[in-house]
Amino acid sequence: MNHVADRFEKHSPVPEGSSANVPTTDELRITTPPKVCGMGHRMKRKEDPRFIRGRGNYVDDVKLPGMLHMDIVRSPYAHAKILKIDASEALKIPGVLAVITGEDLKKAGNLHWMPTLMSDTQMVLPIDKVVYQAQEVCAIIATDRYIAADAIEKVVVDYEPLPVVVDPFEALKDNVIVRDDKELKTNHIWHWEAGDKEATDQVFKDAATVIEEKMHIPRIHVSSIETCGMVANYDTAMQHMQIYMTSQAPHAHRTVFALVSGLPEHKIQIISPDIGGGFGGKVPVYPGYVICAVASLVTGKPVKWVEDRSENLQADSFARDYHITCRLAADKDGKITGMQVKTLADHGAADAAANPSKFPAGLFSIATGSYDMKAAHIEVDAAYTNKPPGGVAYRCSFRVTEAVHMIERMTDVLAHQLGEDPAAFRMKNFIKPEQFPYKSPTGWDYDSGNYHAALQKAMDVIGYHDLRKEQAEKRARGELMGIGISSFTEVVGAGPSRDYDILGIKMFDSAEIRIHPTGKAIARFGTKSQGQGHETTYAQILAEELGLPAQDIQVEEGDTDTAPYGLGTYASRSTPTAGAAAAMAARKIRAKAKKIAAYLLEVNEDDLEWKVDRFEVKGAPDQHKTIQDIAFAAYTNHPPGMEAGLEATDYYDPPNLTFPFGSYICVVDIDKGTGEVKVRRFVAVDDCGNIINPMVVEGQIHGGLTMGLAPALFEEIVYDENGQNLSGTFSDYLLPTAMETPKWETDRTITPSPHHPIGAKGVGESPTVGAPPAIANAVVDALWHLGVRHIDIPITPQKVWKLLRAKGVND
């Protein structure tokens, strides 16, 4: 899979209208009354009554008659030969039915290896060697979860430890080969680049100022409240496999299962029930899923597998781990002119990321961010190491977190070096509102934006200039206070079928609406909420378009037997894709409804106009038919020659991605004694286009900001030189609690997407993407006068303390 992707040469022209200069406002667009509760209403979430009463239904709540339980033996070594697996003592325990090894899976049809979503391969269970600590070695099937746990303790595995390579730079020397199953004996996986190298080199030659920084975006873990799990239920009589699975993409997973297992796709039903957080971690297929499904196939009984917290934290879904060298060029006026990036991506033992196929480094090439520059050239190389598979898109819109951290840190370094205020420097370098639609130097077509308005609003809300005065006064007294800005551009809503697919399946998404005779409705989608609130927001889109009260619309997702095919929910894509499909399907229904209304009112269709929830005869509003009247007629009195019923399906292929943005400003105080950083204030101004439900958006932003605070100050997965995970429990993998979290102050501007049917953009990942550099910039801002230019996240107290003492600051 050693390839160079040059997607930008292949990039076909963007359809007309997919980007535009769109005016910005602060005002929510509300066109429906509260009874209908269309877009803009702060409707309480329809899913919450069951969640707050503990009535959700998660995979671990599924209990089937005769269900067996699976537990997994995991490797204590990061790299070792397997000499022998002896499960004889385990099998003596009453209730232990079977052990499943790599050899068993091989005999079952070469199921000991599986493809990853990135066309790499990954072991399901090993035969020869393990390549990371906590790797699955074999599985026990027992009648009881507790017996299974006792049994794995009794499995004796003889290992012969092998040399371990943990550092990706060391890995590229190929002294230790992680994947000797491959033909090419190298740890180098692929090289990828974007942008124009020659033009960029020229810009750097002409530059008045060039800066360079090295930074590491550390390996982190999604740590959703619910771990991963499955109940596989194979019916030997019907030859039907029913699977309950913690899946963000049930349809795609069904297709992958069909291709890997050879079971016919119509005999596989995947149900993704309530999901307790996904964040990208429930997109990949983990070995445990495959073993669990095989266990059910073999036993003909339902088998449950649910990871415990340690397994989840040590073996699943690692993200980031980019080692970046970035250079920025500026002209004599302090205008950014170019960017050069070289990155080494640590993918662990397999490239098991879940990016669109043509984008091995995700959408990292969005790295020029909110700034208008002439040229950019970005290179990424990926390496195998003896760590669990990494590169999963953790609430990052496919590597946009890494890109934004880099450009926002670099922008601050350049502003400081030039002696300019970081806010004024950004204002000077932003892409201007009148430049939209904007073509970026790496080939992106920004749909709409107004970066000046968002930053100005953030500055006004936080009182930026007063804070700078306060900072100067404090600095004179020897106190350390910093102000950090992040003005990010996101890119979400993958994506247009010409460029975006996963294993060949195009990244459209879908909606299917059926309106019942009494005017109530069911709507099903190809996406899958994991906390995003789809049951509410999709209903609001339909309410907006059809005038049906949102409360009257049942939203369903996650069952592949009933929902239309879709690629699932991740990378902030649901509103840009399935949300658009909802509006488009609703418009098909409205077109039919108009014909029915014309028939009922005995007028020409052209004489009708749509008002909130009804068609009125123009100039005679008392002559009307509500959507409910029309729905009833669709089943009882539909026009001759017309099909009965009122339903529609839409598979939406977006013409472009959406480009949400925002400006965040953060104030920190630093303890000179301990090096602790305290976030005193944090103002987040987000622009995600038209807003479906402001409360849901604010909730997304609050959660995302906390998930941005986490890697900035707390979270990092740390390995020792033997590849042992030192942060494999929540005592050392530091999820911030309410106590560490500042009071988030949120605000908004609204610059609609010109191409999205309802003008919306995705928002779920904006705060995770935007927050870390605001915090890092604030800390460096507090220390710049001491000669500090950069600190890698997480900015731990010890790192700050070390710098302070080195610079002669003490307490």
Binding site: Y146, T674, E676, L734, P736, M739, P797, W801
Partner: protein, 290 residues
């Protein structure tokens, strides 16, 4: 994260508990709040055959003044101290500490006795009780006995409680006039063990510090006092120079290990800084300034 098999007993009297402990010996572990034991069992680091749950022993849950002593039942949840007016008014060092032990959920179940009996230098109560010079009362087959806190901590996870003994209460001498105490803790996040923490209890005689006990959390294999820090304070005027000298002595005497909380050097320096802050606050309290 599923514990190995064990038998469970929940005696309703102290006698019953003592008898169970005598019968099962080393195979048994006492369960108080369980915040150290249960995680260890879930990781199978501890695999006791018998659990003796003391939570039904309501007679071991109290906070009360008995003459010149604050008596705390061994099974008293930390949260009770947080809510106790006596503690808040007269035992500021203890009040400081119980508001930063882990988080409110842990404090609702975690007990003062368990926090001490586990003899974990990362726990907060050992340093607090060392600074107060408290006395532990225990009962076993040989009867009831008092153990001075200075004799209580023997080794990592090892106290001087003998096999078959159960801790009954903790007796904290009431601070005299012109006394003040403080507990200053640094933690990476709420619920984490201290990176370092310092407990100080001292008495002033005019401008001079006449008595001082300084104890440290999680910077030594065994919960420890810092004699050097105490010597740097006693008989000295309460000045920043004295505080700095005490902080430096504490930093020199402790023996932290390097881990993800920080290097040994870092922890020593943080101990110095926190010691100064704790002493400063204790002096202010002794002088009635806060």
């Amino acid at each position: 994260m599923i514990p190995a098999t064990f038998d469970y007993h929940a005696p309703s009297t102290l006698d019953e508990a003592l008898q169970l402990l005598a019968r099962h010996g080393d195979a048994a572990k006492l369960l108080a709040g369980g915040h150290s034991l249960i995680p260890a069992m879930r990781f199978r680091l501890a695999q006791p055959e018998i659990l003796i749950d003391l939570n039904k022993l309501d007679g071991l849950r109290y906070v009360r003044e008995e003459g010149n002593v604050l008596a705390i039942g061994a099974m008293t949840p930390e949260a009770w101290l947080e809510e106790s007016a006596v503690v808040q008014q007269r035992y500021p060092l203890l009040a400081d500490a119980v508001s930063v032990i882990a988080d409110p959920l842990v404090r609702n179940r975690g007990t003062v006795g368990g926090n001490l009996a586990h003899a974990d230098p990362a726990n907060d109560q050992p340093a607090v009780m060392l600074a107060y010079g408290a006395t532990i009362v225990a009962q076993g087959p040989g009867g009831r006995r008092n153990i001075a806190i200075d004799d209580f901590f023997v080794n990592l996870f090892e106290s001087s409680l003998q096999p078959g003994e159960i801790m009954l209460d903790i007796r904290v001498p009431a601070p005299g006039a012109s006394s003040g105490g403080a507990y200053v803790k640094m933690e990476r996040k709420v619920g984490d063990y201290a990176t370092s923490a310092v407990a100080v209890q001292l008495t002033m005689n005019g401008p001079t510090i006449s008595a001082a006990r300084v104890a440290l959390t999680n910077v030594n294999p065994v919960p420890m006092r810092s004699p050097g820090a105490e010597a740097a304070l006693v008989g000295k005027a309460a000045t920043e120079e004295a505080f700095e000298a005490a902080g430096k002595a504490a930093a020199a005497e402790c023996d932290p290990s390097s881990d993800l909380r920080g290097s040994a050097d870092y922890k020593r320096d943080v101990t110095r800084v926190l010691a100064k802050r704790a002493i400063r606050r204790a002096v202010a309290r002794a002088q009635g300034r806060s």
